[in-house]
């Protein structure tokens, strides 16, 4: 159904992994679309991806290109794996739909001093402990009894709030984008509904593609041994990776502002969009600034959510191994988001421009020296965490030398190829569980059907995705992680 009436673009080959769709593809496009993917991945993308990227190419202030990353697939309004930068001094907009509903949804990677040999005998006990500690699944409820006032403080100060309350280590902030706080956040810009949804869900994993995984590094999977060593990675090391965001609060903020923007977009700002999900307002408008401040709260809620989950992970490891988390080396390597709009300075045709870079299902990938990179990584480039499906593995990369081609953006995951409704029909959750167990991956899931939707067959080939962005020089491979156990909502 999705491809009915959709035109197949004629791609201009820019390189082996870069393709361009000209402005003539769809009337009203202000800039071309650029896709960063191998030919195989390009051919597998559904036509809606290009149509959605072209719709974004029509929006005022868009600069250079509307981008699609190698993991691109169709979403609602904007494709997942979409990047668009808007010149805020030339009427450029801010759009909740192009940011994504799950504001600041992202990945956190935690190291351990444990090896594969240490963890094998404990893997089931540990995973079950994690499953008990970290609420997951439909309607999962926070284990914290926060007051609304507590939550409002959290929404203004992010991970810093969590550390102040004892949920983490001070050094975690140095290993988090923005040091764990969007300092422009203003809680007066979020609704009571957002607060109510947030209070009940903070510290929960969620469901869908959100997960918590125990992984290890096969010696041959270290691709950049100098950076790996510098960042504390070693062969056969066990690491923890998890993926979650701002939960119901972030979604409520996005929903609230889409409705606000729909009321003023055409009438007040004369902006027309092809999909209501692309509702937007000029960044330099009252409505635009209000959303930016509200989005800041969403960013903080997301950072705090991951910080609280890290605290529970440390508790679960400590209780299982009967040792302090410090002694087990549970040090956070990095926390990075892939649903956000960031104000950044970039050079465009030789001129420095202040751009609002929207990344929806796209990770910031900053080359060495960029001020967006926390100090401890600035000389190397930003760590980039790309989560694969629960069957196939995940990657750590570092910002590449060509990242400025995409306003310092790269892929964020495997990218789905099969719809959830179809996956549910073709995959049996219990059979998948047994198959994964046979392959050495233990899964603890709230739902068999939810598990069935997240099997490896529903996703693109993660190696192909990562090789594409590596070849394009957007991000360079550091190492690959192999899954050992997975907690799913």
């Amino acid at each position: 159904m999705q491809n009915v009436d959709l035109k197949k673009p004629e791609f201009k080959r820019v390189s082996n992994v870069t393709w361009e769709i000209p402005e003539t593809f769809k009337e009203g496009m202000r800039v071309p679309v650029r896709v960063y993917a191998s030919e195989k991945l390009l051919k597998e993308m559904d036509l809606q991806v290009f149509d959605q990227a072209a719709n974004i190419a029509m929006i005022p202030g868009i600069t250079k290109y509307s981008f699609v990353m190698a993991d691109g697939h169709s979403g609602y309004g904007s494709p997942i794996g979409g990047v668009s930068a808007f010149d805020i001094h030339k009427g450029g907009v801010i759009s909740p739909g192009i940011v994504g509903f799950d504001i600041n949804c992202g990945m956190r990677l935690v190291l351990t001093s444990l090896t594969l040999e240490d963890i094998r005998p404990k893997i089931k006990e540990l995973t079950d402990a994690l499953f008990k500690k970290v609420p997951a699944g439909v309607g999962s409820k926070s284990k914290l009894a926060l007051s609304k006032q507590d939550f409002v403080e959290l929404a203004e100060s992010g991970s810093k709030w969590a550390i102040k309350k004892g949920y983490g280590w001070k050094e975690d902030l140095d290993a988090t984008e923005l040091n764990g706080i969007a300092d422009w956040a203003d809680d007066s810009k979020i609704s009571e509904k957002a607060v109510q949804r947030g209070v009940t869900q903070i510290g929960t994993l969620g469901s869908g593609n959100h997960y918590l995984e125990i992984q290890y590094i096969k010696p041959e999977n270290i691709k950049d041994s100098a950076i790996a060593k510098k960042w504390g990675l070693f062969p056969n090391q066990v690491v923890i990776m998890f993926h979650t965001g701002s939960r119901g609060a972030g979604h409520q903020i996005a929903s609230d502002y889409i409705q606000i923007f729909l009321k003023v977009m055409e009438r007040k700002y004369k902006i027309k969009v092809n999909d209501k999900e692309l509702a937007c307002a000029p960044f330099n408008s009252n409505e635009g600034r209000d959303y930016y401040k509200a989005m800041g709260c969403g960013i903080n809620i997301s950072f705090a959510n991951r910080q609280l989950i890290l605290h529970r992970i440390r508790e679960a490891f400590s209780e299982t191994f009967k040792k302090d988390a410090e002694k087990l080396g549970l040090r956070q390597l990095f926390d990075i988001a892939h649903n956000r709009a960031s104000l950044e300075e970039h050079e465009v045709d030789g001129e420095a421009k202040e751009l609002l870079v929207h990344r929806k299902g796209s990770t910031g990938s900053y080359p060495p020296g960029r001020r967006e990179i926390p100090k401890k990584f600035r000389a190397d480039g930003s760590p980039v965490i790309i989560g694969g499906s629960m069957e196939t593995g995940s990657y750590l990369l570092v910002g590449g030398s060509n990242a400025d081609d995409t306003f310092d953006s790269t892929a964020h995951g495997s990218g789905r190829t099969m719809s959830r409704t179809r996956a549910r029909k073709t995959t049996n959750g219990k059979e998948l569980f047994q198959k994964m167990l046979k392959n050495g991956i233990y899964v603890k899931s709230v739902s068999w059907s939810g598990l069935a939707e997240e099997g490896g067959e529903s996703y693109k080939d993660i190696d192909e995705v990562v090789n594409s962005v590596d070849k394009a020089g957007l991000s360079k491979k550091v190492c690959k992680f192999i899954p050992l156990a997975n907690v799913k909502g």
């Binding site: 169709s74 799950d102 009940t200 869900q201 469901s207 593609n209 119901g248 739902s447 059907s449």
Partner: protein
């Protein structure tokens, strides 16, 4: 309840379409589709908790959107899911008013088989219209 989940309308999320002879039945079908995205068997939900709410909007599209969002809100804030939906929907002077009574149950993993969480209702391809046979609606839910 006349609704179906539509394959491949969206790759990462869930889409449903509903049809009904009356607008009241359409809202009930859409409510059931949203809950059925999260809970496998609606019959497992006992209609023992009632919530009543009213919504006033400028058009029928926004009325349906707000109704579905309210169900997501109850799931997130009170862990409530519903399987009976009653409504009194009227149009007057260009405004749409709905008074809704919904009946359901606290989420319970022992009694309810969970599927996936609905995080939001989106405006993408969102549609409600009067047809020759009655009413039609489509929605894409963010997962």
């Amino acid at each position: 309840m006349a609704y179906k989940f539509v394959e491949d309308t969206t790759v990462s999320d869930v889409a449903f379409e509903a049809e009904a002879p009356t607008v009241q039945e359409l809202f009930a079908s859409c409510g059931a589709a949203l809950i059925n995205t999260m809970i496998k068997n609606l019959a497992d939900i006992k209609p023992r908790i009632k919530r009543v709410f009213s919504i006033e909007t400028e058009d029928i599209e926004k009325l349906l959107f707000d109704f579905l969002e309210k169900l997501v809100f109850y799931k997130d804030t009170e862990q409530l899911v519903f399987n009976r939906f009653e409504s009194d929907i009227r149009e007057s002077s260009g405004n749409w008013n709905g008074i809704f009574s919904v009946y359901g149950d606290k989420l319970d993993p022992k009694r309810h088989e969970f599927l996936v969480d609905v995080k939001a209702v989106t405006m993408h391809m969102f549609e409600i219209e009067k047809t020759d046979k009655g009413w039609f609606a489509r929605a894409v839910l963010d997962i």
